[in-house]
Amino acid sequence: MTIPTFILKNALRNKRRAILSISSVAASLFLLVTLQVALRELTLPPESAGAELRVAVRNRISLTNPLPVRQRSLIEKIPGVAAITPFTWFGGKYKNEGGMTFAQFAIDPKALGTVFAEAKMDMTGYQTFVAKKDSCVIGKITADKYGLKVGDRFSLDSTVYPGSLTFEVAGIYSGTPDDRNMLFRQDYLDDSIGMPGYVGMWWLKVTSPEAMPGVIATVEKTFANSSAEVKAESERAFQLGFISMLGNIRMLVASISTVVVFTLVLVAASTMSMSIRERFRELAVLKALGFRRRELFAFILAESFGLSAAGAVLGIGTAYVLYTYGNISQMTHGILISFEVTPRIIGFAALVAALLGIISAIAPAVAVTRMSVVQGLKTLD
């Protein structure tokens, strides 16, 4: 027998309790990792290759307020602007599905080759999109999900505009961080049921990252004191601003995570206290045999740490395997595209597990080291 064997035998002496303890740590850490990954995905959306050159221009009052089409010609003249496209939310429902299943935006079809150049699609599809007014292009994820192919026709009932529109799939794009959207032509929307003369917002492409601050300032200045004042910002700033509309998610997730960790500490500390309390006499005997305080402290710490570590391996490992190798898009019905368990999140969860092991061992370890042999022998005699 060795000291590690002795510690292991003690830790597993009540197998049911050990399994339950490990499971509770594993479940809590799995939840913690899930929350942290979700928080990261929501607050740090993936950036596409062209993000550093894109500027979002929206109505200063609200994202839901439209902008007049006449702004386009003025923006195009601003030095540093390479391309521009309208970007109008359609809010269509696919077939009989209850809610909005994928986002649809009306754009200038040529923007696929300029503003959103990272979207990869075959040339035929692009040419069809440019040539045919009722055509659309669909992200690969959505196309796969609904089994849509080039040439298919389908209708969407808008929740924003009255009536519905029928589209023909011109192409299927991929290569963006979020290949779920459907893009169709602004002029088709204008001609059919939309509001001619208005768009949802503008996306610009600037000539260089250095030109961006100047473009943003000039765009805002150009429409200052007009009937449609605008707010221009980088894609990154726009995404973060959009996320902030969801509420203080960071605070919400942090609160839930804190409760999870706090509950976990209470459960683990209670389990360790019970486990050690039952063995007070045995620990007193070990003291009598010559084991010193620091050795008993180390035994208890190792036992507690071991249980936490086992729970951590199980909980963090399960989360890692599930979110890394599982199809998260399928699991969340397309709500989430990626769900990356980063080394930083793994490190954070492992740190929580380590602290848990230490904190839950402190009270029983201190009680044991303070206990005299005589007192310990009397406890259960």
Binding site: F6, V285, L289, S372
Partner: protein
């Protein structure tokens, strides 16, 4: 101080402790000498202070005043860490309730005190086998305590007490939880340890029949030797 023949020398040993607001005198100026190789039976009624005296001699309790020299060492002057080392090297414990670790086999229980020594695994195994052989339990080395009878458990505890080859073995009511047959076996084992291995044994007991196995009997009454 201890003469070479005396393994334990106690001078004016007093132990007081508080029980709520009442101060209890467990030992009152006790003086005692125990010769090397002696099998001392310490008798007395409950609360007479015999276990307290045993605990102080074994270095698990401290006196309020007085001196307790064991093998020339004043145990009261050692700090906690020194005392732990000293107990491991010099004292073998036998308890009334055996106090074996339930998740360890007989051999592993006996090996426990050796984990604190510098011995390697094979040396430890050799000593464990020898100790179990001495108490006649070689064939039970892989049994858990729950698979042993009370008498066998106590013999494992005896093997654990002598595996480090201590000079002094202290036994607190070692037959208190045993039937008469098993008690006889345990007492015979202790007797042979004194006779064949030259160990000094101090045994606390209520039982005059058990005390009769000792080479000397002393009585404590209200913390004083009578």
């Amino acid at each position: 101080m201890a003469s070479p023949e005396n393994i334990v020398v106690i001078r004016d040993l007093t132990k007081r402790y508080s029980q709520g607001e009442i101060e209890v005198t467990a030992l009152d100026r006790v003086s005692l000498e125990i010769a090397t190789g002696e099998f001392l039976a310490l008798m007395g009624p409950s609360g007479s202070g015999k276990s307290t005296l045993l605990h102080i001699i074994a270095g698990v309790d401290r006196p309020t005043s007085g001196e307790c020299h064991v093998q020339g060492v004043d145990v009261a002057r050692l700090n906690e860490s020194q005392l732990a080392d000293w107990r491991n090297q010099n004292i073998g414990f036998i308890f009334q309730t055996f106090n074996l670790i339930p998740v360890l086999t007989a051999a592993e229980n006996v090996e426990l005190p050796l984990l604190l020594t510098q011995l390697n695994r094979s040396q430890r195994r050799k000593q464990v086998a020898a100790a179990l052989d001495l108490v006649g339990l070689s064939d039970r080395s892989h049994h858990l305590p729950r698979q042993l009878s009370g008498g066998q458990e106590q013999r494992v505890a005896i093997a654990r007490a002598l595996v480090t080859d201590p000079a002094l073995i202290v036994a607190d009511e070692p037959t208190g939880n045993l039937d008469s047959h098993s008690a006889q076996d345990v007492l015979t084992a202790l007797q042979s340890l004194r006779r064949d291995a030259g160990k000094t044994i101090i045994m606390v007991t209520h039982d005059p029949k058990a005390a009769a196995f000792g080479t000397r009997q002393i009585h404590l009454e209200k913390g004083e030797l009578s």
